[in-house]
Point group: C2
Chain length 352, copies 2
């Protein structure tokens, strides 16, 4: 299929919607190709395409990663369409990781719906996640030489995802977590796949190494910024806007970046927060509200927002320094990057 080129200056939601239309048919085909009916159903539910009974429902996430993948193919001089298999693979891997992480983290809600394991059981959710991961590899294997070029990038990103989640779980049991530990963990959990998404399309069209590396760096910086925004939402976000429960990370005692920054801030609020957390996660709503206020007072949220802004600025500079064949696609990449982190600025502005 072929689409008209996206005119420069379009908004991020316009870009994302247009690219979702480009990628989704191939994504649906990849999932239709799963032989097992249970795996197909759980996967479709995870994608937001059907409800728990299997009936069609409104579409799911914003599909940021596939958008980055096809834009990177175009930015490197190929067509948007050339990046579709890579975009499908990246989105499948993203959803594999959501499905598995929800099992491990015992998260019960995502995008205003019960998570996969809540609906289908833990074992079936684990299996469906692994089926999606395998399908992602199958999509690239089915894409000939372009897919072969992309495979090492995708596989390395999967290993970084896994390592990041492993570190995250291990850190839950440690009292001595520093901000560097958190940023390293977030680099794996979130930045790895965004770096892959932002460069894999360029790989699929055979772009030179410096372009691929530059786009990966760009994605890596956006990825950290994106995760910092997510961390902010986990402290002060409202569930209406994000589908995440307000103060969800505070409630579970998670050591996210703003929380660790607050604990290590050497401020009165930070010390009070440390005392409050000493016996485990806050026990009731009042304690959660107090902890949330202390995190903000100790500067944890402002620091995370500032760090996210700095990362985005760095990502922009890296992108601007690349010799890209298609400047319109590069502009779209920058627009999507801004959009990702703008969620954080809005939240931060409304919380202070």
């Amino acid at each position: 299929m072929s689409l008209p080129p996206i005119p420069p200056g379009r908004s991020a939601p316009e870009i994302l919607d247009a690219l979702k239309i480009l990628v989704e048919p191939a994504l649906r085909t990849a999932i239709d190709d799963l032989d097992d009916p249970r795996m197909r159903r759980i996967t479709r539910y995870q994608m937001g395409w059907c409800d728990a009974a299997g009936n069609p429902s409104r579409p799911g996430g914003k599909a940021i990663r596939p958008a980055l993948a096809v834009l990177s193919a175009a930015a490197a001089g190929g067509r948007l369409e050339d990046g579709v298999p890579a975009a499908v693979a990246v989105e499948l891997v993203h959803n594999f990781s959501l499905l598995h992480d929800d099992v491990m983290d015992r998260d019960v809600e995502r995008r205003h719906r019960p998570t996969g394991w809540v609906v289908f059981g833990e074992a079936q959710a684990i299996l469906a996640g692994t089926a999606m991961l395998t399908a992602a590899v199958e999509v690239l294997v089915g894409d000939g030489r372009a897919g072969t070029r992309c495979l090492p990038c995708l596989l390395a990103a999967i290993q970084r995802l896994i390592a990041g989640q492993s570190q995250d779980i291990e850190m839950e049991r440690r009292a001595d977590v520093g901000i560097d530990d958190v940023l390293r963990m977030e680099s794996g959990k979130t930045a790895a796949l965004l770096a892959c998404a932002a460069s894999i399309g360029a790989l699929s069209v055979g772009a030179p190494d410096d372009v691929v590396l530059g786009l990966a760096d760009f994605g890596d910086e956006i990825g950290i910024a994106f995760q910092l925004v997510d961390d902010i939402l986990g402290v002060v976000g409202d569930p209406a806007a994000t589908g995440k429960s307000s103060s969800s990370d505070v409630r579970t005692g998670k050591r996210s970046a703003p929380i660790v920054r607050a604990l290590r801030s050497n401020s009165e609020a930070g010390r009070r927060l440390d005392d409050l957390f000493a016996d485990g996660p806050p026990e009731d709503d009042d304690a959660v509200a107090l902890a949330t206020r202390l995190i903000v007072e100790a500067g944890g949220v402002d620091w995370a927002a500032g760090e996210a802004d700095a990362r985005v600025a760095r990502a922009r500079r890296r992108l601007d320094g690349l010799m890209l064949a298609d400047r319109d696609a590069a502009t779209d990449l920058a627009t999507v990057a801004d959009y990702i982190v703008s969620r954080g600025r809005l939240i931060n502005a409304s919380s202070t």
Copy 2:
């Protein structure tokens, strides 16, 4: 590395030991290549190479699948060594599935040791299993064109494994399971990866389609036989010989092939078994012993043993009908196949 050819007429343990020495260095390298220290440690524990504290321990399983993989490379006219990357990939996938299945099935012991999730926690075990699966694909991707030829075979086997385990879990909640359901499920859970193992080496050396398909059929039949033997061990096996608790499948009320066959046998023993299972798994040791006796009396164990023998005979005929370049390697394949199912004949003989 190069090994002297295995002389014809060697016993299965001799063949397996020799081939393990050929494959294991590459298997260790694949696991050493995992970046994350937690993933490396859990994976080494799963392979039986270290204890829970990370100290080296005696070697683990018999490595049947990698042996089949390298033998299939030789049988198809290549060298044993040519099949090593494929053998490593298959063994990694096998251990991924053991690690994940133990989490899902809540199995606490394997090979006389606590299972991975018991030692490292459920989440870390899930992550390590997925890291092994990803590493398996990475090994093939790193093997150039030979690996590219093998990838679709490995990925299809993984999807069949996943579907088989999914069906297994679903069947636990159904009362109307028939023997065909069980055999279909076992085809996915066990035969898929053995079929892959028995043909992937031939794929890696570029064997013609009829040879690859014939070897896959051979592996498929052995695989069902192997699983039937495992099912028999789950009814009447002793833990000293297998590392499986005696009557373990009876205790958990699992609907394995001999148990379903007994329930569907239209015999007095079968009806008594049905009554006994009506309120769930047997509650105490006496009930387990009674249920085990009823399964044997109703002919479930004999049927499974006979079916396993028939599958092995079919596997042998399929192998004998192939034009293979190396008859010694083909003989070794047959020897290993006999060995796999001989465990079952011994058990059956001792139980009647």
